[in-house]
C-alpha cells in the first residue's frame, strides 16, 4: 500500500493521457514567436549567438527524446514476450533514461478484445511488467517505472479484425518527472 500511495503521489501532477484520454497528451514547448520589432530575416544566424534559437534547439531535442520514450511497442497474440521490433524500440529508450535520471515512465499494458475481459486486464499487466523488466535489464532502476493495465478497454483501432488486434496488443508510455529532456548524442 505504501508503494502504491507513493507512486500515486509522484504521478499526481502529470496528465496521464495515455490511459484516460481525458486530457491532451503533453506537448513539447511551443516555439517562441519571432520578436515583433525585428523583421524576419532570411539570413541564417549562428545558433549559439541567438538565445531563442538555442531554446528552440533544446525544445526540439526534448520533443525528439519524448517521442522515443513514448514510442509504443506491440505484442503477439496472448504473449508478453518482447518481440525483436519491440526490443529495438525499448533499446532506443535506454540512453535517454540514463541521460535523464529524474524521468519516470508509466507503462500501460493493453490487449486485443479476444478472451475474457478480466484475463485481458491481467495480460495487460503482464505485458507492462515484461517491458519494465526488459528495461531494468539494461540497468535502469525498476522503481522508475509504474506499470498498469487497461486490458482491452482502450483500443487504438476499434475494429474486430487481425489488423486492429495487432495494433491494440501494446504497451504505451507516459513520461513524468522531466520538463526538458536531454537527447544524448545531439
Amino acid at each position: 500500500m505504501m508503494r502504491r500511495l507513493l507512486l500515486a503521489s509522484l504521478f499526481a501532477t502529470i496528465p496521464l493521457s495515455a490511459c484516460s484520454r481525458r486530457q491532451p497528451p503533453p506537448q513539447p514547448e511551443p516555439d517562441p514567436p519571432p520578436p515583433a520589432t525585428q523583421p524576419p530575416t532570411t539570413q541564417p544566424q549562428p545558433p549559439a549567438a541567438d538565445p531563442d534559437a538555442e531554446a528552440r534547439r533544446r525544445a526540439e531535442e526534448s520533443a525528439r527524446a519524448l517521442a522515443i520514450l513514448e514510442e509504443i511497442v506491440h505484442f503477439d497474440y496472448d504473449e508478453s514476450t518482447i518481440r525483436a521490433d519491440a526490443q529495438e524500440a525499448l533499446a532506443r529508450k535506454v540512453p535517454i533514461l540514463r541521460a535523464n535520471p529524474g524521468v519516470q515512465l508509466r507503462v500501460v499494458g493493453h490487449t486485443d478484445e479476444r478472451g475474457s475481459v478480466e484475463y485481458n486486464l491481467a495480460l495487460g499487466m503482464r505485458r507492462a511488467n515484461a517491458v519494465r523488466d526488459y528495461l531494468a535489464g539494461f540497468g535502469i532502476d525498476a522503481s522508475r517505472f509504474v506499470t498498469t493495465s487497461m486490458g482491452e478497454d482502450v483500443p487504438l483501432d476499434p475494429g474486430s479484425n487481425e489488423r486492429a488486434w495487432a495494433l491494440n496488443r501494446r504497451a504505451e508510455f507516459t513520461v513524468a518527472g522531466g520538463q526538458t529532456l536531454i537527447l544524448p548524442g545531439s
Binding site: Y119, A122, V154
Partner: protein, 456 residues
C-alpha cells in the same frame, strides 16, 4: 408460368429452429470432448394465465400483474404458453372442460382486491388434466407505484413454477453488469431479469470490474481502480446505496467472489509471481491466503461451488487458459475441467447454484478465437463430454440464474451485441439488454420469495 413455391408450416418451423439454434456448419470441426447442443423441442406442458379479475381503479395494475406473470412463465421456458387466452374463457367460474379441450395442463387464475397496503391477490393454480386445484393462496402486494411492485409479482411467478413443477424460478432476480463507456468511464448497472428497469447504481472515471452478488442478494462486491489507492474492493449495499472499501492489501485486486456463507471472499491479485487466487475473511478482516501455487501463471475468476467446498477458476498454467477445480482451501492438485486441444482457451467459469454444472467461455482452436462459445461441463465428471450451448458470434462471461437452467452472457449475437439469456435445456435465447459495451454480467440469487408476501 411456374407456380409460386409454397413453404409449408412444417418447413418453416424447421427453418426457424435452424436460425434460432446452433449453426450446423460448425459441427464438422467439433473436437472429441465437446458436443454441440441441439435445440431441444421437448414437449412442455401447456399453461394458461387467465387475466386476473379486478376492476375499477385497480384495473390497470391488475392487467399489469397478468402480463408480468405470463411473460415470466414464458421466460421460464418450462411451459408452452396459451396466448391469447380465448375471449369466452377470460372470466367467470373456472370450468375445466373448455381448458381441457385446448390441451391446457395448468391454469393460473385469481382475483385482486385493493387493500390498505396495496393489493390482495387470491391466486390459484389448477391442474386441468386431473381437474383439481394444485395450490391456492392469498398474497399481499405493494401498490403499482411502489418500486417493489414488479419484484413482488415476479416472486408470484416463481411460486407458480414451484407449485406446478416443484422447481426453482428465476423471475424475482436482477442482473448486475458493467458498462464501459470509453474515455476511461465505467458504470455499474442493474436490470430486472425481464429486462425492465435498467439503471446505473455506481460509476466512475476509473476501472470498475467484476461485480459479484452477496449470497443474500443485498450487496454487490466489485474491483475498483481508485486513483489514489490503486485497486481496492468495494462492497455496495443495493438498497441503501452505502458502500465500504475492502482493502485486504496486495496489488491489483481482481475478480472478487463471495463464498456461499457470505463471510469469506475469494479473489485474484497480481504479484511479481503472476496472478494468483487468494481468500480473505470478511468478518475478521484478515489475511490474504494464497490458494493457487503455479508460479508466474495467471489464475483468476474463482467461483465457489454451492456447498462452498470447491472453487472453479481459470488458469494459463498449461499454456493456454483452461478451467480447473480445486478444494476451497487450495489443498491438493487442481483437476482440469475443460478439454485441452492445441490453441484452446477457456475462461470465466460460473458454477450452477443448483448442482454440479459449470459454464465457461472459450474456443478449442486458434481458427475460432474470435468466436468464443459458451460451454457447460459437469464438475462431478471432469472427463465427461462437455456441451457447447451457443454457436453464433463471440460469446463471453456466462453467469447462471438461480434456477440452474438459464445463463446470461455477453454476445455479439447475430449482429445485435448485448447481454443474452439462454435456456440450457431448450437453447431458447432472448436479448436481455442491447449494447456492445455491457460486460461481466452476474445473475443475482432470488431477491424475494412469495412466502414473504403471504397474507395473514
Amino acid at each position: 408460368m411456374q407456380r409460386k413455391p409454397v413453404i409449408s408450416v412444417g418447413l418453416l418451423a424447421v427453418a426457424v429452429s435452424l436460425l434460432a439454434g446452433p449453426a450446423p456448419v460448425m459441427a464438422q470441426d467439433q473436437p472429441a470432448g465437446i458436443r454441440l447442443g441441439a435445440p431441444y423441442n421437448v414437449q412442455r406442458p401447456l399453461l394458461a394465465v387467465r387475466p386476473l379479475a379486478g376492476a375499477g381503479p385497480i384495473a390497470e395494475a391488475v392487467d399489469s400483474m397478468t402480463r408480468i406473470i405470463q411473460r415470466d412463465l414464458r421466460y421460464s421456458n418450462r411451459f408452452s404458453i396459451l396466448d391469447p387466452v380465448p375471449q369466452q374463457l377470460r372470466a367467470g367460474e373456472v370450468e375445466y372442460g373448455p381448458w381441457n379441450a385446448l390441451n391446457v395442463v395448468y391454469l393460473v387464475a385469481g382475483d385482486v382486491q385493493a387493500s390498505a397496503a396495496g393489493y390482495t391477490l387470491a391466486l390459484a393454480v389448477h391442474d386441468v388434466v386431473y381437474g383439481r386445484v394444485v395450490s391456492e393462496r392469498r398474497f399481499m402486494l405493494p401498490p403499482a407505484t411502489d418500486p417493489d411492485f414488479r419484484m413482488a409479482v415476479h416472486a408470484i411467478s416463481d411460486e407458480v413454477v414451484r407449485w406446478t413443477l416443484n422447481q426453482p424460478g428465476s423471475a424475482a432476480t436482477r442482473i448486475v453488469m458493467t458498462r464501459q463507456n470509453g474515455g476511461g468511464s465505467y458504470d455499474l448497472l442493474l436490470v430486472d431479469s425481464d429486462g425492465f428497469g435498467m439503471r446505473r447504481i455506481a460509476g466512475a472515471g476509473v476501472q470498475l470490474y467484476s461485480p459479484s452478488w452477496s449470497p443474500d442478494g443485498r450487496r454487490v462486491l466489485y474491483a475498483f481502480n481508485d486513483e489514489n489507492r490503486g485497486w481496492v474492493l468495494v462492497e455496495r449495499d443495493i438498497r441503501s446505496g452505502s458502500q465500504r472499501v475492502i482493502d485486504p492489501g496486495g496489488d491489483m485486486l481482481m475478480t472478487p467472489t463471495y463464498a456461499p456463507d457470505g463471510n469469506r471472499i475469494a479473489l485474484a491479485s497480481w504479484s511479481d509471481d503472476g496472478t494468483q487466487i487468494f481468500n480473505y475473511d470478511l468478518r475478521q478482516q484478515c489475511c490474504l491466503t494464497r490458494l493457487t501455487g503455479s508460479s508466474r501463471s495467471i489464475s483468476m475468476n474463482p467461483e465457489y461451488s454451492p456447498d462452498g467446498r470447491q472453487i472453479a477458476f481459470n488458469s494459463d498454467r498449461i499454456g493456454g487458459n483452461a478451467i480447473f477445480i480445486m478444494p476451497a482451501d487450495g489443498s491438493g492438485n487442481p483437476v482440469q475441467l475443460s478439454p485441452f486441444s492445441q490453441g484452446s482457451s477457456y475462461t470465466g467459469p460460473s458454477w450452477s447454484p443448483t448442482g454440479s454444472k459449470v459454464a465457461f467461455a472459450g474456443w478449442w482452436s486458434r481458427q475460432m478465437y474470435d468466436r468464443a462459445q459458451i460451454m457447460v461441463a459437469d464438475a462431478g465428471r471432469p472427463s465427461a463430454q462437455i456441451e457447447q450451448i451457443t454457436a453464433r458470434g463471440n460469446n463471453r462471461d456466462p453467469s447462471w440464474a438461480p434456477d440452474g437452467r438459464h445463463v446470461v452472457y455477453t454476445s455479439t449475437g447475430d449482429g445485435a451485441a448485448g447481454l443474452y439469456i439462454i435456456d440450457v435445456e431448450t437453447k431458447t435465447r432472448r436479448l436481455l439488454a442491447g449494447g456492445a459495451n455491457l460486460r461481466m454480467a452476474e445473475w443475482s440469487p432470488p431477491l424475494l420469495r412469495a412466502a414473504d408476501l403471504v397474507a395473514q
